[in-house]
């Protein structure tokens, strides 16, 4: 058995265990994304970085324990790095949250993003309405697909469609995908845009949103297809 000190509390773990096991046994929590039990432990997402006593950051999921190892799981440096790593992961993640099976509370990336204040995921990721009872599917000009998540999708939860009070998503690919999603269920982009002007009318990002939605919407009808 090996002694490891996690955030000051001592804990015993068997030889060869990973730092993550020790941290969990000490009662602390460290987020992991790419860890998949014994199938994948390559530490490529870097979300589980923790700080050793010498200031080095190591991935808890793959770093083997050694006697007397001291580790801190929540220092300012760890939080800052973790926040940026999540942002980088999000930058390459296709945010078609409205069609994702993990929406409505099962999206780990969303949990992490909201915990670390990273914005950019559509409200749909938080909205549990799926399939027929999704407001866009029912034909309402819900702004969920193009509004930044963080409100827990209060409006859709209570039945009405999102009117974008948390500000627009500015990622081009998400906006294009959203336009296709609207077109697919016959929601006219003009209504969506006019509804969006309530809160976004004055924002500089609004022209970006409008141009992206309009181009891909027209492409959709020019045979671009969903």
């Amino acid at each position: 058995m090996v002694k490891v000190i996690v955030n000051g509390t001592e804990v015993e773990v068997e030889e060869g265990a990973t730092l993550l096991r020790a941290i969990q046994r000490a009662g602390y929590e460290v987020p992991t994304l790419c860890l998949f039990g014994h199938m994948y432990r390559e530490a490529s997402c870097r979300v589980c970085l923790v700080e050793l006593s010498n200031g080095k950051l190591v991935p808890a999921c793959a770093y083997p324990v050694s006697e007397g190892l001291r580790v801190l799981t929540d220092t300012p440096k760890v939080r800052r790095v973790r926040r940026t790593v999540i942002e980088l992961i999000l930058a390459t993640h296709k945010t078609k949250c409205w069609e994702c099976l993990r929406k409505g509370g099962h999206c780990l990336l969303l949990k992490l993003a909201s915990e670390y204040g990273v914005e950019g995921i559509p409200v749909c990721a938080e909205c549990p309405l799926y399939g027929e009872d999704c407001l866009v599917v029912r034909g309402y000009p819900c702004l969920g697909p193009i509004t930044v998540a963080g409100c827990g999708a209060q409006c859709p939860l209570s039945g009405s469609y999102c009117i974008g009070c948390r500000g627009p998503i500015t990622r081009k690919d998400t906006l294009r995908e959203a336009a296709r999603f609207y077109a697919k269920y016959g929601v006219n982009i003009k209504n969506v845009l006019s509804l969006a002007t309530i809160f976004w009318g004055r924002l500089s990002e609004f022209n970006l949103v409008r141009s992206e939605l309009l181009n891909s919407f027209t492409n959709y009808f020019r045979g671009g297809g969903p």
Binding site: G139, Y140, G159, I163, S194, L195, I198
Partner: protein, 426 residues
């Protein structure tokens, strides 16, 4: 005897100044709203009719439900959209819940300190902490009920043009009933703990008022307005009787009914429908509807009565399915309509002209705007009484006048939704 006082009235929704000028025996009072206009009606113009309610509900957080429902009624009236009776009932109940919540907040935080002769809420907290706690508990219960029916405690989103977006089921209603019943018990506790002093005496110099004719139960909406002189007129004929005059010293306009100042609000409603609420009135020791200060008593009456009547209204409903389904598609895209509702502070009128599905013209008349001139008259009357026989006591004058303005419970942000600058309004 010459005197000129400007009183910045505190503990009201927004900023207002009451200017009193006494020169010899003529007294002049000015009710000056210092908010700058927010051009809400202009913001609404050009919008698709489905978006207008969202803007309307954001005029003011206190009675966002009243504005939201009035806006929906105006649209439905303009486009000739019929809604079921059950929908009307649930909407009225939702509105009544917010009326209760508003009265609670106004009484405890704004008016009660005067009523109990204390300086403000902090001193009230130290003296009667348990009352405040109870009121808070009561308030949260009411808010829960509002959330069940409205979707959110402020800026509701379940009610929608033509009905409700989300299905309102039997369980929702039962849940609302449960909360209201619970809050009734708490309210009676509050009443028992409250030792209300008697109100200052004042005669209402122009005691004419307007109230929305009730459809069936108290505070239910209809499309007719009844005046104190018994005259009843359709809500879309309001322009023939009500005129908006811009006042030179205040950013808010002033409303006259047949050329005469008038007041609206709980006192007007209670005095009109005294018959319906008479048991509650007697329980609370009667009301002199001619005294402007009795507005506070009227609020208590409305709270008590509504808490008793709402559970029955909701349980009597035999609803199968209410709301849900696909969005509202109206064939008619042009029209002019008026939506009237009894907001917590009185009669609220939304008047829309819709052309091609877009709002072309909007005019909103809010209760505080209607009460503006009446407040000045009452203030003049009160200052005359105070100055006439006893020696001038400036601080007493100031506190009494502030107390008077507070009883009218003006909501200044609503009062200035359109600029007064002459010529701007077409």
């Amino acid at each position: 005897m010459r005197l000129s006082e400007v009183i910045e009235v505190d503990r009201v929704f927004g900023h207002v100044e009451l200017e009193v000028v006494i020169d010899g025996d003529d007294v002049l009072t000015k009710f000056r709203v210092v908010h700058d206009p927010r051009f809400i009606e202009l913001a609404m113009e050009g919008r698709h009719y489905l978006e207008v309610p969202y803007i309307a509900s954001r005029i003011c957080g206190a009675c966002s439900i009243a504005h939201y429902l009035a806006s929906i009624k105006a649209i439905e009236n303009a486009l000739g959209i019929e809604v079921s009776e059950d929908t009307e009932v649930v909407r009225d109940v939702l509105n009544s819940l917010q009326v209760i919540q508003n009265h609670l907040i106004h009484l405890t935080f704004l008016a009660l300190p005067d009523y109990l002769g204390v300086k403000d809420i902090n001193s009230l907290l130290s003296k009667s902490r348990d009352v405040i706690k109870l009121v808070m508990k009561l308030n949260s219960l009411i808010l829960k009920a509002i959330k069940v029916l409205g979707g959110r405690i402020v800026n509701p989103n379940i009610p929608y043009v033509g009905g409700f977006i989300r299905e309102i089921s039997r369980e929702d209603l039962n849940l609302a009933i449960k909360y209201v019943n619970e809050s009734r018990g708490v309210f009676s506790e509050v009443l028992s703990k409250l030792r209300l002093k008697d109100l200052p005496l004042l005669k209402d110099v122009a005691n004419n008022y307007l109230v929305l004719k009730i459809r069936n139960h108290y505070l239910s909406s209809s499309d007719e307005v009844v005046a104190s002189d018994g005259h009843v007129f359709k809500h879309n004929e309001y322009l023939n009787y009500i005129e908006e005059v811009s006042s030179s010293w205040s950013n808010s306009k002033v409303v006259l009914y047949k050329g005469k100042p008038l007041h609206v609000g709980p006192r007007a409603r209670v005095s009109k429908y005294l018959g319906i609420v008479k048991e509650v009135v007697s329980e609370l020791g009667g009301i002199d509807t001619n005294n402007p200060f009795s507005n506070l008593i009227a609020k208590l009456i409305e709270i008590k009565y509504l808490l008793e009547v709402i559970p029955n209204i909701l349980s009597d409903m035999r609803i199968s399915k209410l709301g849900g389904g696909s969005p509202h598609k109206s064939e008619v895209l042009n029209g002019e309509g008026v939506g009237v509702i009894e907001a917590p502070r009185g009669l609220l009128i939304h008047h829309y002209v819709i052309n091609g599905g877009r709002l072309v013209h909007a005019n909103i008349i809010t209760p505080t705007e209607i009460n503006a001139r009446h407040i000045e008259l009452s203030a003049r009357e009160l200052s005359i009484n105070l100055v006439k026989n006893n020696p001038l006591n400036i601080s007493k004058l100031r506190s009494m006048l502030s107390f008077l303005v507070r009883t009218y419970d003006p909501c200044l942000p609503c009062a200035v939704h359109v600029s007064v600058v002459n010529g701007l309004r077409r």
